[in-house]
């Protein structure tokens, strides 16, 4: 966290130094700072790990999520327009590994944001997440897809 703040400060400093506060300039500053910090903190494994690994994971997750978003948006959109929609909706319970409130919430949100799935509720024992999905060919496949894809990456990112 400290490193992140330092990085932001560096980017601001860069913007001030160059005398131009714009998105592009700040981004440049941030990248420069990131690189600089990577170099600076090469020996301190522990801390470097958390910040730099996390940041990479975030980027990876964001890319994955965007891909999912676009792909399934397309699928839903196509289906909506089609004269005879090929939907197989269903309510599926997914056993979750997420434990803390934040984890559960983010997971549920991410699932909801992904087109085709929608979090309905968490069971009272917080072990199962019930979702409504547009295309349930086989519930177990869906469960696996979500656990392996979204949940794993998300928890990886959070822990």
């Amino acid at each position: 966290m400290q490193l992140f703040v330092t990085n932001v400060l560096i980017s601001l400093l860069w913007a001030l130094l160059t005398g131009k506060v714009s998105v592009g300039n700040l981004a440049v500053g941030f990248v420069l700072g990131y690189v600089a910090l990577t170099l600076l903190h090469s020996e301190k494994e522990e801390r470097k790990n958390s910040y730099f690994r996390k940041s990479l994971q975030i980027v990876r997750f964001a890319l994955f999520f965007t891909k999912e978003l676009v792909v399934s948006s397309w699928r839903v959109a196509r289906d909506v327009i089609k004269p005879l929609p090929e939907m197989r909706p269903g309510v599926v319970g997914i056993p979750i590994d997420a434990e803390t409130d934040l984890e559960i919430t983010l997971l549920a949100n991410v699932i909801s944001l992904t087109p085709g799935t929608l979090s309905l509720d968490v069971s009272p024992d917080r072990k199962t997440l019930y979702i409504h999905a547009m295309y349930v060919i086989n519930p177990d496949d869906l469960r696996k897809e979500i656990k392996e894809g979204l949940e794993r990456r998300l928890l990886e990112l959070l822990r």
Partner: protein, 133 residues
């Protein structure tokens, strides 16, 4: 009505919303916004909290009774009209002091009063309605 998801989202949204409300308040003189919308934002944040948790909890994090906030806001708005009187001007004449980072004027103080009133009013209403059995 407890939902982990809703509660958690609320817990994380609450502080930024308050910050945002103050931002809207302070920027209102130059950009869209101002005391009224700012106050509504702040009030909405607390209302959200009351929805996600309980009215009692929302009351406890608010600390003050909404009615006191309302009265205080009205008092601030009224008092903001007083300073010009000392310089022989009419009630509610804008009086400005130039500070290094921004201009501070009685109209802004007035807007703060508006903010407080709106916050207090909204919460008075929402809390009372929420407590209605």
């Amino acid at each position: 009505m407890t939902s982990i998801i809703f509660r958690t989202a609320t817990r994380y949204m609450f502080p930024p919303l308050l910050v945002f409300s103050v931002y809207v308040l302070l920027r209102g003189h130059h950009y869209p916004g101002g005391g009224f919308v700012g106050g509504l934002f702040a009030g909405s944040a607390f209302s959200l909290y009351a929805l996600a948790f309980t009215v009692a909890e929302a009351r406890s994090i608010l600390r003050f009774d909404p009615r006191d906030i309302t009265a205080a806001g009205l008092a601030v708005a009224l008092l903001s009209g007083i300073p010009p009187l000392f310089s022989g001007n009419a009630f509610l004449t804008g009086t400005w002091w130039e500070l290094p980072f921004m201009d501070l004027g009685t109209p802004l103080v007035f807007d703060v009063g508006v903010y407080l009133v709106v916050l207090g009013v909204l919460l008075t209403l929402v809390f009372a309605l929420g407590e209605e059995e």
